[in-house]
Symmetry: C2
Subunit: 344 residues, 2 copies
Amino acid sequence: MKNKRHSIKDIAAALNVSVTTVSFVLNGKAREKRISEEVTKKVLDYAKSINYKPNQLAQSLRTGRSKIIVVMVEDISNYFFSKLARIIEDIAYDKGYKVLFCSNENKDERSRDLINLFRERQVDAYVIVPSPGIQQDIAELVSDDIPVVLFDRYFPEIETNYVIIDNSEAVHKASQHLVDNSYKNIGFITISSSQTQMEARQRGYREAMQANNLKEFVLEVPFYEKNIEKVKELIKEYIAAQGLDAIFFATNYLTQIGLEVIRESYPEKINEMGIITFDDNDLFKIYFPPITAVSQPLEEIGEELMTTVLKMLKNASDKPYKNQKILSASLIERNSSFPNKSRA
Amino acid sequence: MKNKRHSIKDIAAALNVSVTTVSFVLNGKAREKRISEEVTKKVLDYAKSINYKPNQLAQSLRTGRSKIIVVMVEDISNYFFSKLARIIEDIAYDKGYKVLFCSNENKDERSRDLINLFRERQVDAYVIVPSPGIQQDIAELVSDDIPVVLFDRYFPEIETNYVIIDNSEAVHKASQHLVDNSYKNIGFITISSSQTQMEARQRGYREAMQANNLKEFVLEVPFYEKNIEKVKELIKEYIAAQGLDAIFFATNYLTQIGLEVIRESYPEKINEMGIITFDDNDLFKIYFPPITAVSQPLEEIGEELMTTVLKMLKNASDKPYKNQKILSASLIERNSSFPNKSRA
DNA sequence: ATGAAAGCGCTAACAC
DNA sequence: GTGTTAGCGCTTTCAT
């Protein structure tokens, strides 16, 4: 039972009508084109009976639209991105779009390869977490009138739509929370990177320390250090040297390594030190102690991203849709940032 | 600078040669078709200068191949699947294929919608974690000679390629590990589901208990119970009622809920009870105590999946490639499954 | 109310 | 060696 694919032509032939008629009917233009009830029904019934599926490739070739949106993130296996992917996927399918997810590993070359790949495929729009050096490539997409929305970070120098969160405000507030809970020597572990979101997070921390007349302790882990053991060593020394009573981890990834270091080298400190992480994760709430986290509004980001993209897709190039959105993150307070408290 | 897209025709016109020549050159068939060095170079140079990108849609329409592979999993935001996605993505891009990831939420209707969606798009191959009731749909794909590989679970009744792991063996061994560490009342928390992998896991547990003359304590959480609080309640009562000294969680998801219950209701037990989870997660190794986990060989699964798909794609329908692979999971022993041991 | 036909961009058999 | 052309499946203008 090798039911080969049926084309619009097959239907036309079988029903003794023209492809035009079939096309009109199938595209719901029967009324508008004043196709007779009878023919309309005949076509519809037959199409159903053979389980006709239009060839979207041909359709896209003809219309120039592929109904595909690319979502390029740093690493799809990252909790934040994969959760977001799930949300975006739902919205897109709902609107008749498919979503291609891909990871650029924060590398420019890979980002470029991917963008080129998809341009060849006439992808309709791009949602991108840009790697540091692809400003030019993004600018090109924009100038070619291809809908692009950046998120997580962006390029202040070019005119693009983006959805980000107010990183510095979020970190500032979270740092203040530590101060309010009477931690005095608050360390900030981040990566050395000039990405907008990382700079903003560090700024938030520094501002909070200055506002409270506290000393700043920043550890910048080399961005491209792939050797986890080295990173662990750095963090281990840093904790020992500075006499910290609290640590703010600027990324989820660093938190995981940091917690491992604490467990291995300073197990007694896990219940003493104040700990806050940027980006939540399901497992942080069941940790001992539960870890306080700055949580990005995933749903909101996903929705904002998609409404922006869909609006850009709708508005032709004549009246470009502009949307630069800065959302707020929330602080989920858990035991790890409270001293002298029963800390299960 | 709205550089509109260039077509092969544009090139031909600009260079005063035919589209055929251009096509041949661009497809690397210059030698084979004995196009002169001169023309070849001219075309290549010009194509480069205008940054020519072939329209893949047209190409696919013509060749019938889209160079897209669909990977449909239960939930792309799940740790296991998202990590695997990352691995598959890399292999695929390397071989010139793009990958579309999507989540079926283990629902038949959604699975069907997605499959239909992609069939319309002439996707080349499918890698699928099947929802329970889509046996028929899978069988159809197979009978239509469309490459399909199932994984995580499969349908024993139909002849398909698949890559799974030996769930019962893995759980049996891990259960034995608990017995060897002198736990006596070992509970098994799973979901009520007839999926092959879940049945195999439960079988492994039961076999191990029987082999050791130990009593079996199985809790089956209703599969479609979306209310987490209810699930927590079930687990909480179960732990209290059975006097267990160890628990085996059959899925990562249950482990998370279970750990939360323990933290909230039986904090003193976290360091006494033996705990093993199915499927590892980065965070389990930094937990207090670190959680022993049955770990699926992600890389191996990803590679096996992709080599299978690629081979099926290569071998035309004449000599179907057969590969039903059963891999082994490994037990990562951490403190949570050892009693009387310093448990940081 | 329906049909013929052009054309989206590309490939490849065939012609010269 | 290079060009002509049919056709992949569809949409849509124009004709009848």
